[in-house]
Structure formats: structure tokens, C-alpha cells
Symmetry: C2
Subunit: 212 residues, 2 copies
DNA sequence: TTTTATAAATTGACAGTGTCAATTGACACT
DNA sequence: AGTGTCAATTGACACTGTCAATTTATAAAA
């Protein structure tokens, strides 16, 4: 029981509690993720977490923020390994699906939790945006390059929604299709890529313009 | 307080409670949808609902079943109005989005609720399948007709996932794009339709075969 | 009509939850 | 050594879901 909590201590405890919270969420859902249970698991008293988080919603937001941060990290790592924006877009799509399949509980807490006024957690919003930035960048570059055509926001939304739809339905077992999820995701990725791709003529024209 | 509850009475009370439950869910989420609150709203004692539902999960399942049933009804109504399976598919897709936009809370309780062992509620599963049957039928007919090509299950999943992705992200405000949702949905529908459409050559060949 | 059997509804009770106020504890500094 | 202050704990309150025991009201029996 140190007298003064260094910022490092605070962060450490918050992290620790978030990890336990995610585990509890994975095992028993949101309702089963009780503050008292977390405190017990952390080895402290029931109300100690209240010094590190305002309330339960605050913990949930922190958990979600941490997971979005992980996704953003992986996205950025993938983005660094592929220069061509078209290929990068596909790589990011695969990364997205891979992340969800590797961390289904993380994905669930990120998306299937009905959080009210998400806007009140700017740090969370920031990580959400960051998780999308890689894809946005790739889309913008592909647009400049001329291999994509259309409204950039629309394209990003279409791609993201398609991936999210497949992953989300798969995780909630609405489409019970064993391990075919990877194949299905590939089909979705190809379909959407093709759909938002610029027509060859336009693409050639754009290239012509660019290359003089 | 009649001595013997006719099946009609039971169904009526169940329906009544489900309506109140959906309203409570819309206003305060799953956690705010308390049995005691429902009982109070229904004007009965706290444990009376236990004679009509096993527990809270049972009520939730009934609520979701009712909403899936509504969606299935609307789908079937739409399907009846369009003979051509290709056009019917688009009409069903629009119907799906329209339903979600018109009943966002219903949609949320249908999909964003993390229900464990959904399989334990066969009546619910039945309505879920029914809500998909119209689309399955249209896809199968389009496949026979030759205007679609590929694995029927895959096609249905792709279409459904795309729609669900857009609607779901929109409702959770992950893509904050005002009323552009309709336009975006149209883009998604067209993209996916085009993606799963048979190539003209194949389509023509199939037609040739069929027409001798 | 009075009694009775019984389904339906109510109350009581218990464990568990989120959260705040009051209390205790322990360390850093004078 | 003493003290002020932050951190942690305990106490308490209003909730929740759920079961057991109880009461109520009515349909059938006398």
C-alpha cells in the first residue's frame, strides 16, 4: 500500500483490471462481469476499482479502448508491409478478419456491446478512428492512383461493413458455417474490391492523366 | 383474476409483457429491462411474470422471436409482390434495411444482444430461419434461372452479411453518416448483386440450355 | 348456498449487484 | 515522533433475479 500512486502504478492497475474484465466478459458476458468479481480476482476490496475508474461503464469503455488499440496496432503493422494501396487494402481486410477470429471475445466486446453515449469517451473514440485510419489511407491512395473510384467515405464504409457483417454474424452463430468463414471472407473481400474498383477505362484514363 | 387461464389469456399476457419488455429495452438497454419494472408496468406483482416465462432469458428470447417473426412477415409480403427472383432479391434487401431503420430497437434486440445458447429456444431459431427463407428462395430461383452463380449458401451469407454490416454499424453509430444510410445501402446492394451475378456468357449459356 | 379444492397471484426472503459515505490504514514529510 | 493526507476498506442503501411459503379468488362439489 504505497502512499502515493505513481502514474505507472495507476496505469498498471487499470491494465490489470481491464485484462480481468475482458476475461470475465468472455466467460460470462457483460452481466457476469461484475465489479465485485473483478475486485476479488484482482485481490483488492470491492470499491478499490472506483479509485481507478468512475463506474462500470468506464471500465467497459477502457476495455473496449484497449482492444481497438490492439486492432489499430495490427492494422498499422500490416499497412507498413505493403506499399501498393490495392494490395494493402486486401491485406488489411484479411487482417481484420484474422483479428476477429483470433480474438472473438475482444471483437464481441468491441462491437456487440450496446454502449450508450460512446461519445463521452474520447480516448475510445480516438482508438476507433485510429483502427480505421489505415484503411482510409489505403482507399485514398487507391483513389489517387485511380484503381478505385467513388466517394472515399462510402468505399471505406462499404468495405468495413461487409467485413463486419460477416464476422459479426459468424461470431453470433447466425450463419453456422464451421471454418468456412475464411473462404467466405475472401469472397466478400473480392466482391467488394471488385465492386468499388474503377472501371478499366477510367483507370487507364486517370493513369494517362497522371503520367502526362 | 380468473381461476383458469385460457391459452388465449396466456398468449395475451405474454404478448403484453413482450411489448413492455421491448419498450424498456429501447429506453434503458438490457440491464434496464428489469423484471420488476416490467411487472410494475404491467400492473402485476413482481413474480407474476414467472408463471408465463421461466426467467429473464426466456422473456428476452420471446421478445426476439416476436421481432424476427415481424421481419419474416414483412419479407414474405414483399416476396409475394415480385415474381422475378433477381428483382425480388433487391426488394428483399431494401425491405431488410427499411425494417431495421423503422425499428432500430427491434433490430438491436435481435442482433446486438449477446444471447447464450440461442439453440435452446427452438421457436426463436425457427423464426430466424423463416426470416431468411425468402432470400434463400430468391437466390435458389436466380441460380436456376442462371442470373446468379456460385454456392447458394455462400451467396445468401454474403448478401445478408453485407446488409447486416451496414445496418449494424449504422445503428451503433460506428459510421456516423446521418441519413446517407439509404444511399449506402443501395450501393452495397448493387455491389453485392453485381458480385454474385453470373457472368453474361454463362448466363446466356444457361438460358440457351434452358430454352433448348 | 355453503364448502372445498386448486390454480393464480402475492408476499417474504436470500444472495448478489452498483455505488456512495464514513472509517480505517499506512506512508511521506516536518 | 508526530501529523496530515492519500489509498484502501468497511458499512450501508437501493436495486436486481429468483425461489418458497402464503394468501386470494374462483370453479366445481356438497
Amino acid at each position: 500500500m504505497p502512499k502515493i500512486l505513481t502514474p505507472k502504478d495507476v496505469l498498471q492497475f487499470r491494465q490489470r483490471l481491464c485484462d480481468l474484465a475482458l476475461k470475465a466478459f468472455a466467460e460470462q458476458g457483460v452481466e457476469g462481469m461484475s465489479l465485485r468479481g473483478l475486485a476479488a480476482a484482482a485481490g483488492c476490496s470491492r470499491t478499490t476499482p472506483y479509485r481507478y475508474f468512475k463506474d462500470k461503464a468506464d471500465i467497459l469503455a477502457a476495455v473496449r479502448q484497449a482492444q481497438f488499440q490492439r486492432l489499430a496496432d495490427e492494422n498499422e503493422a500490416v499497412a507498413l508491409q505493403e506499399n501498393d494501396p490495392d494490395k494493402r487494402l486486401v491485406a488489411l481486410a484479411r487482417c481484420y478478419v484474422r483479428f476477429a477470429m483470433a480474438n472473438p471475445d475482444a471483437y464481441r466486446v468491441m462491437f456487440s456491446v450496446n454502449q450508450q453515449d460512446e461519445q463521452r469517451y474520447p480516448a475510445l473514440v480516438k482508438q476507433i478512428k485510429r483502427a480505421n485510419q489505415s484503411m482510409k489511407n489505403a482507399v485514398n491512395e487507391s483513389l489517387e492512383k485511380g484503381s478505385l473510384a467513388g466517394d472515399p467515405a462510402n468505399i471505406v464504409h462499404i468495405l468495413w461493413a461487409g467485413l463486419h457483417g460477416i464476422v459479426s454474424l459468424h461470431l453470433s452463430d447466425k450463419l453456422h458455417m464451421g471454418r468456412g468463414i475464411d473462404e467466405l471472407a475472401e469472397v466478400m473481400i473480392r466482391s467488394l474490391s471488385q465492386a468499388v474498383a474503377a472501371q478499366p477505362s477510367k483507370q487507364a484514363a486517370a493513369r494517362r492523366v497522371r503520367e502526362g
